[in-house]
């Protein structure tokens, strides 16, 4: 009794009931394919987030004051002995090549929420910032059409604005926005530039954007109060940590911070944003993986079910085989090979299906197949075949020939 022989018997068994064989295979295939696709979707979305964060620039640091900004500062403010807001003076002091040699430039940012309109078209930009021209380079924003505003525009308070693609489409559908006028919170701005596509960073649309000179925004909209944040660009990603230290030294001195645990400002760098978003997407991927694993398990139970039915249905045949001298292990291997083949074949189809399905964009995410998930899903499906098929097989093999022969 060689191995090839057992394979022949096993295939004979499978080909007897093709419908059942293919349905069982389908169950496993769907399980494997969904594991691969869902994990690929999770992976794809986390890669997309990483990519857009990368695009924002990895050498930028955002300083947030305790007032306004991203919120969450109140607790820190309560702890602070003396809480001072960020000021333009803070931004100016960071642009100091002697005290802060690793900082390329720093730009103060005033942010607000306003609705802009052009006649009947309105748009509420996700970002409405008043800042300096150095913001554009620091934030890795480039111009597609037109120009950035200049230092002269800031100094003289010219009402000009640079807008992102989403805002442009909202306000000027099908038109060239350059030279047109938009009205934000009643203040008219002339559009002088359109930024290149930035994409989403996973939290907000980077193209829903209006940027204007800080002087104009303060004078006309927010008032000359404090600024919300300072965008700092380090000379390179490798000196980002040095730049961070220099920021702390300079701002601590300016704000008279004695205890570094009680700072009245926070710094955010891209690395920490990246870490947050990766951990979020890891949770997302795990959830998807668990759902898929359940469907794989259900496929496995399907195999057990089919193998049990097969064994019962073929009890008589098992009896005949035993009566003419089939040893226990021959019966056992025949059924285990059948079950393993079912899951193996289902696994292969599932892997193919998984790769195929990963070519489509699913809910706006381009799936990226994780090789280890393919191995995992395939391996698990084969193991499921072995274990779940093993139980009915051992039941079949343990039958006494006379019991099996009498079975009708």
């Amino acid at each position: 009794m060689n191995f090839l022989e057992m394979f022949r018997f096993a295939f004979g068994g499978l080909s007897t009931n093709k419908t059942r064989t293919s349905l069982t295979t389908l169950g496993i295939a769907i399980g494997v394919a969904s594991v691969i696709i869902l994990i690929a979707v999770g992976n794809g979305s986390s890669l997309a987030i990483q990519k857009s964060i990368d695009r924002l620039g990895t050498n930028t640091i955002t300083i947030l004051g305790n007032r306004g900004g991203f919120g969450g500062g109140r607790a820190a403010a309560a702890r602070a002995v003396s809480s001072q807001p960020l000021t333009i003076g803070d931004a100016v002091s960071l642009n100091d090549s002697i005290k802060a040699p690793d900082i390329k430039q720093a730009a103060p940012v005033v942010s607000t929420n306003v609705t802009c309109s052009n006649g009947a078209n309105t748009s509420t930009p996700g970002t409405f910032d008043g800042t300096w021209p150095s913001w554009f380079e620091a934030s890795n924003t480039s111009i597609k059409v037109g120009n950035f505003f200049s230092n002269d525009d800031v100094t003289n308070g010219h009402r000009v604005a640079v807008i992102g693609n989403t805002t442009a489409t909202d306000l000027f559908p099908g038109q060239n926005p350059i030279g047109q006028t938009i009205s934000c919170s009643g203040v008219k701005f002339t559009v002088i530039g359109l930024t290149n596509l930035k994409g989403s960073n996973g939290f907000q649309d980077g193209d829903s954007l209006v940027v204007a000179p800080i002087t104009v925004v303060q004078r006309s909209i927010t008032g000359f109060s404090n600024i919300n944040s300072i965008l700092v660009q380090a000379k390179s990603a490798s000196v980002q940590n040095n730049a961070q230290t220099e920021i702390n030294t300079i701002i601590d001195a300016r704000h008279r911070i004695k205890n570094v645990n009680n700072r009245d400002y926070r710094t955010l760098n891209q690395a920490s944003l990246l870490a947050t978003s990766s951990s979020n997407s890891a949770v997302f991927t795990t959830l998807l993986g668990v759902v898929a694993a359940i469907s794989l398990l259900v496929g496995g139970i399907g195999i057990t079910n089919i193998m049990l039915v097969t064994v019962i249905e073929r009890t008589r045949e098992i009896g005949i085989r035993k009566a003419i001298g089939a040893p226990k292990r021959a019966i056992l291997s025949q059924f285990i090979i059948e079950a393993t083949f079912l899951s193996l074949f289902g696994g292969v189809i599932g892997v193919l299906g998984g790769f195929l399905g990963s070519h489509f964009t699913i809910v706006g995410v381009k799936p990226v197949v994780v090789p280890s998930s393919v191995l995992l899903a395939f391996g698990v499906s084969v193991l499921i075949g072995l274990f779940f098929g093993g139980y009915p097989a051992s039941r079949a093999a343990a039958l006494r020939p006379i019991e099996a022969l009498r079975y009708e």
């Binding site: 035993k322 003419i324 001298g325 040893p327 226990k328 006494r400 020939p401």
Partner: protein, 260 residues
Amino acid sequence: MAVDLVVAVDLVVNTKNLATINSNRNESILPVIEIKDAVKRYGMGDNSIYALAGVNLRIVPGEYVAIMGPSGSGKSTLMNMMGCLDIMTSGSYFLDGIEVSKLDENALAVVRGHKIGFIFQSFNLIPRTNALLNVELPMAYQGIKKEERKSRAIKALEIVGLSDRLSHDPSELSGGQQQRVAVARALATRPALLLADEPTGALDSKSTADLLDLFDQINAAGRTVVLITHENEVANRAKRVVHMRDGKIISDEINEVSIK
């Protein structure tokens, strides 16, 4: 009713002959089958039923034995014991010198494959598997090489007159042909013993006659044949007829008709 009558008549004749037959038998020959005090009990305690109630049977090589008896007489149980398909509650069973009542399941599988060719009333061929592969199957389990297995299977099918049906599935064969495939399957392993449990029970008279001729040939070639039957016509071909009733052997006689 008719069967009972026959048995009753046999009873009178056979009790008389029993002693003479046993004494005539050559005790020095190694028996193919030696069963001592075989008991098979179903159920426990007061509800237990004895399918075999102490059977002693000795069959030497080259014999052609028919076992007869009414339903429930224990003849099928005895046959299953001899074929190692079932185990006895107590007693001992030597097959070709091996005490099979003491073997484990794996060793029994080997014995079934090598020592016994079993023929069933309902043929018991593997469905959707052609005649040649059916005959090859027991040899496959024994690990005989493909070429030898095939040539032996072809030869066995030739002997039973089915060389033109090698690639037919059981469903494409008549009852008589299926039973002949089963005989070929039993013969191909060159067993010490050919056991047939009512082999003609599902066959018409023509097929029955052909099959019995086949058994005669097989026995004439020296193979030990033991069969169970209801039919006197079948039993008459055997050289020795054993009658059973209520789990016991009630007669064991040389068949005068067959000897002639």
